[in-house]
């Protein structure tokens, strides 16, 4: 332990602690901007670039960045001298002098770290503002993410997420000096890059340099159009996080309130993606068992492990970076994309309306779902199965615009039939949940016995890569789980090198699974928030009367009256997909 003095108060901290953390212990909040600590990922972004967190250290010539300067024994630190405050303000003036001043219409306004800090530091004008040259870049709009580099402040958080956590490598610091920013290779559009739209960059961006494409205007217009029947589905992870946008504690389940709010917004049918999750289990589970049995029977052509395919960020990842392995993942579509075609066929038939008159909106914790919804293979004659996918954050905006406060709303139930779901569907939102749900069903189908201990706790947790096994009545099914694409890459490399011993692997692009998705309320790196969201989903699962997908009565009815068998002909048409080699192609002359 070492002792130091900060603002005349003595504090004792462990060796290696930074001045910033030591000050925190004394309840002194030193302002920070670029710094970000993701404890659950063991990632600390501290380029020491913004210089807002500088403090005075006795005996040191210049000011020290408190986020990256380690405390020393006997150190005397002052965090609030006028020298420090003048430095912070001047640096903030520098940053703002190269930042567009369009806060009125900026999507980040009110949630912008830069705006907050400028206010906190009391910056009221920028010297010689009109003559300051501003760096200027092309606006890049992709199906999921908008990049407006004019607003980049070089905090490097997105670069850290894209490279160190996700290993996607779409973003890097580019150029030098005043022109430096975080961008793509050759400043290409995200669409042309290796971007998976996982949205982890958006989730950490302190400004509006990286934001999601806002689809709420289209949703509002669809609901306002009397000729359209607007159906909404909500993903499992949304209910465990939406409350945070209304000041509720992390991990508060707001399923019922959310349903009320959606109805209040005017959606004609409020359904649950959990229903589609149960359907996914039927298809994916059947495929898993089919492959497993064939493999056990000695069929050399059958590839194992089977990989889950319900995460569109993950699908984008292997299509761009591991196209040679595109036969390994399950062909089952994601729940969002299973919900769409069922709504536009089965449910539209029930209502007796045409496909074109139905608009399917999904509420997702995810930005990759926006891209997924507009993929060509998920359209019929140009009409998408899912029309608009909006994020948890966008939904919160909509609810607030409609003068509703989630905290005061009554609870209500999903509509039938596509609002019916099991506990297995709910846990899709947390890492390990999909494979646990699949195992519950696969066990019973394979063994013909009832699974007594439904909670497969060996598959739960927050570790990046996990291994667990489920005893299928004497057959040990080995399961691997990875969340975060960097971890997925490790498992994929193992498979490529023939080192993988798993039968099935669940992969989620985002750390924590969907609860940590790129469209969720910002968690600012607080891993406890993720854990609380996961716990909420497991709580909802435990409270459900039915906890296995194949026991969902609405699913049973769907197969009996419409689909026939899982993995049958109609299933293949509506519920399965195929993958593409999307590696960048090279144009070579002979």
């Amino acid at each position: 332990m070492i002792k130091l003095t900060i603002d005349n108060k003595v504090v004792e901290v462990e060796k290696g602690t930074t001045i910033f953390h030591a000050a925190k212990k004394l309840n002194i909040e030193i302002p920070i901007l670029c710094y970000m600590n993701l404890e659950h990922l063991d990632i600390e972004n501290k380029p020491g670039g913004c210089r807002i967190c500088v403090v005075e250290v006795e005996g040191r010539r210049n000011l020290a960045p408190s986020c990256s300067t380690k405390a020393d024994d006997g150190m005397v630190v002052r965090t609030n001298t006028m020298r420090v405050i003048n430095a912070r303000r001047t640096v903030m003036e520098f940053i703002l002098s190269d930042h567009p001043k369009e806060c009125l219409t900026c999507s980040k306004s009110g949630h912008c770290d830069l705006q907050d800090m400028a206010q906190k530091l009391g910056v009221r004008e920028i010297p010689n503002e009109t003559t300051c040259e501003m760096s200027s870049y092309r606006l890049d709009t992709s199906p999921s993410i908008i990049r407006n580099l004019d607003k980049c402040i070089m905090c490097r958080r997105c670069e850290t997420m894209c490279n160190e956590v996700q290993t996607v490598g779409a973003l890097s610091a580019i150029n030098r000096g005043f022109e430096a920013a975080v961008g793509t290779a050759f400043e290409m559009n995200l669409e042309a890059s290796t971007c998976t739209y996982c949205g982890q960059c958006v989730a950490v961006c302190p400004t509006a340099a990286l934001t999601e494409v806002d689809h709420t205007p289209q949703v509002i217009r669809a609901i306002a159009d009397p000729t359209k029947t607007v159906v909404v589905q909500t993903a499992p992870a949304v209910r465990a996080a939406l409350g945070e946008e209304f000041g509720m504690d992390a991990g508060t389940l707001v399923t019922g309130e959310m349903v009320t709010a959606l109805r209040g917004l005017g959606f004609d049918h409020v359904f649950d993606t959990d229903f589609a999750a149960d359907l996914t289990i039927m298809e994916e589970g059947t495929e898993l068992l089919g492959r497993l049995n064939a493999h056990l029977a000695g069929d050399k052509d059958v590839k194992l492990p089977i990989l889950t395919s319900c995460c569109p960020g993950w699908v984008n990842f292997f299509e761009t970076q591991f196209p040679d392995m595109k036969d390994i993942p399950s062909t089952a579509r994601s729940p969002q994309q299973m919900f769409g075609p069922i709504a536009k066929t089965y449910f539209a038939n029930k209502l007796g309306i045409k496909r074109e008159d139905m608009v399917v909106v999904s509420i997702m914790p995810c930005l990759a779902k926006k891209y997924e919804a507009q993929r060509d293979e998920f359209k019929v004659d140009g009409n998408p199965d899912v029309d608009f996918s909006i994020s948890t954050r966008e939904l919160a905006h909509l609810i607030k615009q409609a003068n509703m406060d989630l905290t005061t709303l009554e609870k209500s139930e999903f509509d039938q039939p596509m609002g019916e779901s099991t506990g297995a569907g709910v846990i899709f939102g947390a890492t390990g949940g999909v494979i646990e749900a699949a195992a519950r069903t696969a066990y019973e189908v394979h063994t013909g016995k009832t699974l007594e201990k439904v909670d497969l706790k060996q598959l739960r947790g927050m570790e990046g890569i996990r291994a667990g096994s489920v005893d299928f009545d004497g057959l040990e099914v080995k399961i691997g789980i990875a969340h975060g694409l960097g971890n997925a890459r490790k498992l994929l490399n193992d498979i490529r090198e023939g080192k993988s011993h798993f039968h099935a692997i669940e992969i989620m692009a985002c750390p924590g699974g969907c609860i940590g998705g790129g469209g969720q309320p910002l968690h600012h790196g607080d891993s406890e928030i993720l854990q609380k969201r996961a716990a909420a989903l497991y709580r909802e699962d435990a409270g459900k009367p039915i906890r296995k997908s194949h026991e969902n009565p609405a699913i049973k009815e769907l197969y009996e009256t419409f689909l026939g068998e899982p993995c049958g002909e109609l299933s293949h048409e509506l519920l399965h997909t195929h993958y593409f080699d999307r590696k960048r192609k090279r144009d070579i002359e002979d």
Partner: protein
């Protein structure tokens, strides 16, 4: 994305692969590999960077990030006679600025550009260590010392043939 679009030939790809292989396909050798590639092609078009990225297993964005960081690397082809004007302090004090202006005027291009016919390109250069000859101009490998603005025409005339 204003750089020239080119098509690599089979043998060009093979050359880049060979260069990467020479450096053990080590990501840490990226800058050495880029030096060699620029030596080979004269510049580093996007297509070359893509092959380097694949072979060294360094994300393409990172390769581009390195290329755009160092002033020695260029994504634009240089002119047949690249003209570099030293803008080190000694040359500045002895009038390099005027010399640069004169070249810009004579060639009708700005620093960092190449003439339409591909004959000349113009760039500035940090101290070449020939301060005794300030201001210094390099055309290709040839050094011209104590250049004055009114000597610019004469230098260019040497290459007009």
């Amino acid at each position: 994305m204003s750089e020239t679009k080119i098509k690599l030939k089979e043998k060009d790809v093979a050359k880049i692969v060979e260069i990467c292989g020479f450096f053990g396909n080590e990501p840490g050798e990226l800058i050495n590999v880029l030096h060699k590639c620029q030596g080979e092609f004269g510049y580093l078009p996007a297509e070359v960077q893509e092959v380097v990225s694949d072979n060294l297993n360094v994300a393409l964005a990172k390769v581009y990030g390195v290329v755009t960081f160092y002033s020695f690397f260029t994504m634009k082809p240089k002119g047949k006679h690249p003209i570099s004007i030293c803008t080190g302090t000694a040359c500045y004090v002895r009038g390099a600025e005027n010399v640069m202006e004169e070249f810009e005027k004579e060639l009708g291009i700005k620093q960092g550009e190449t003439t339409a016919d591909g004959k000349f390109s113009l760039s500035s250069l940090r101290c070449v260590g020939a301060c005794g000859l300030a201001p210094v101009v390099l055309v290709g490998e040839k050094t011209y010392g104590r250049v004055a603005a009114d000597g610019v025409k004469e230098i260019l005339a040497e290459y007009e043939a």
